[in-house]
Symmetry: C2
Subunit: 298 residues, 2 copies
């Protein structure tokens, strides 16, 4: 029975290890999964409940970590809108396959919408900022790596940093003029790196990305009676949920020796399965594992 033909990774969670492919790591080197299996508690970081959005859809919950140190005004604005119930009952009205799922208040019918936001396309790269580069060259940035577990780029001359449009990025839409973002947000369904620093990325999906990927495809409605897409049942930070203890997520730290070894193993792929070891890793193709500590289940 050929159940396990190719290696399984879950993009937004821990890899699962299927079949014999991982059994024969060559040259005594550990596979990515073996490295993760020996992580200790110090290799993980809790995601603060006030920076974790719970987006409830009819199909399930999506958990999104916010990045207030990179885009503080966007995070403050989005958090306030969510916790005021602004998004409840709105919809994902623009879902373009292979591109983005965009939601919000398409006809600007809600009162108490936000004032336009100043762009936060990038942020100062302060001394001592927690940026861990990967060794591989990247076409879109001087250097890429991870900033507090978020995929990020830096401009070394200008000393700026920004989050990347990898799949599952949360960003704020804007008009063709800068500083016009407000309430309309999108998730990238695929990497869209050419948008980096042209829109403000301020978070990333940690759990439930399948619910975003499975949203019904829909073009933006032109008339109020047109299909507005699937409903946003509610959106709140985890600390405002009825049972905040259900949302105790931890993400793998990216500033540790263990993570550096994990990156190296994803670059070299020592498992016997690989005839052609890539010797390279694309920053958007690195799953940063997330674990659920809500019930000590994992």
């Amino acid at each position: 029975m050929k159940l396990f033909h190719i290696i399984t990774t879950i993009f937004f969670g821990a890899p699962i290890f299927s079949g014999p492919a991982f059994a024969d790591a060559l040259e005594g080197k550990s596979s990515p999964s073996e490295i993760l299996a020996r992580s200790s508690d110090g290799d993980w970081r809790s995601i603060p409940a006030e920076n974790l959005i719970v987006l409830t859809l009819n199909s399930g919950e999506v958990l999104i970590a916010l990045a207030p140190d990179v885009a503080p005004a966007h995070v403050a604005n989005f958090t306030a809108l969510a916790n005021n119930g602004f998004y409840d009952g709105l919809s994902f009205y623009r879902v373009i396959d292979g591109f983005v799922a965009q939601g919000g208040d398409v006809f600007e019918e809600r009162e108490n919408g936000p004032a336009p936001l100043k762009a936060e396309f990038d942020a100062p790269l302060k001394d001592g900022v927690n940026f861990s580069p990967i060794p591989d060259a990247d076409g879109y940035a001087d250097r890429v790596g991870f900033h507090n577990s978020f995929p990020a780029g830096i401009d070394e001359d200008k000393k700026r940093t920004w989050l990347l449009h990898c799949a599952g990025a949360l960003a704020m839409a804007c008009d063709t003029q800068r500083d016009t973002a407000g309430a309309e947000f999108y998730f990238t369904l695929q990497p869209q790196r050419y948008l980096d620093r042209n829109l403000t990325v301020f978070g990333r999906v940690m759990r439930g990305m399948e619910h975003i990927q499975l949203l019904r495809r829909v073009s933006p409605p032109e008339e109020k009676d047109d299909d507005r897409g699937e409903e946003i049942v509610s959106m709140r930070t985890a600390d405002r949920m009825a049972e905040p203890g259900n949302y105790e997520l931890q993400i793998l730290r990216t500033d540790t020796p263990l993570f550096a070894e994990y990156i190296e193993s994803r670059r070299s792929r020592p498992e016997a399965f690989f005839y052609h070891r890539p010797g390279h890793v694309d920053v958007c193709a690195v799953p940063v594992p997330v674990r659920d500590r809500s019930s000590e289940g994992e």
Copy 2:
């Protein structure tokens, strides 16, 4: 009304042009959409009906172009299985979000299944092969570009070429041993370039990728009564369909001056929308437009 906040591209079709973002190309340079708008019939190539698979799902049809010049044995095997009705009534039994959708005969219950296939991880790069490189460096291959409109890589020393695991690639699964592929196939839901040359890619989705992306997520069944995922209603080459005239697709040629200009514009993004012009393009992020000539509608 903020309908059109960010630029729209459909990954597997022609970009659609929404809102004012494309109105102000800078420096007299054309945007990707403007370049495509002046394509002539000679810039397009028909996809032969015998190399175009029609995969019928309950949600709709998916059209997949095959690449017999890169993986002839895989194409011959897959075409024969499809046209013998082998896949009809089977299912997508392994659909992992952000990774792959795998289908076929999970418990090997069908008779007349294939003998194991020899791997065709890469193919000779013959003199005069229609490979059009893009200028940008790539981490996974000496050089990347397009081979008869398929994203492809080459090894310049070994004179080999292969198709890439971009989103929408069709490849054959195999066990951990080489030369064990047969009937179990998968589509990549995201780029998975680390799998290049470790499995045989032999085609790519041209139309209907949303039906693949929307397949119900499911883990491989362990018992015969377990959920086997969504059904493959039928699979045939277009020339075997009741109305083959419904499947007359053309794809943009990638060996033309127009395509080179299109790539250059995707690298530089001259539109006024862009504050940070990328100056780079990832080969998997280039939509190769497809048009439907079935009814002269497009």
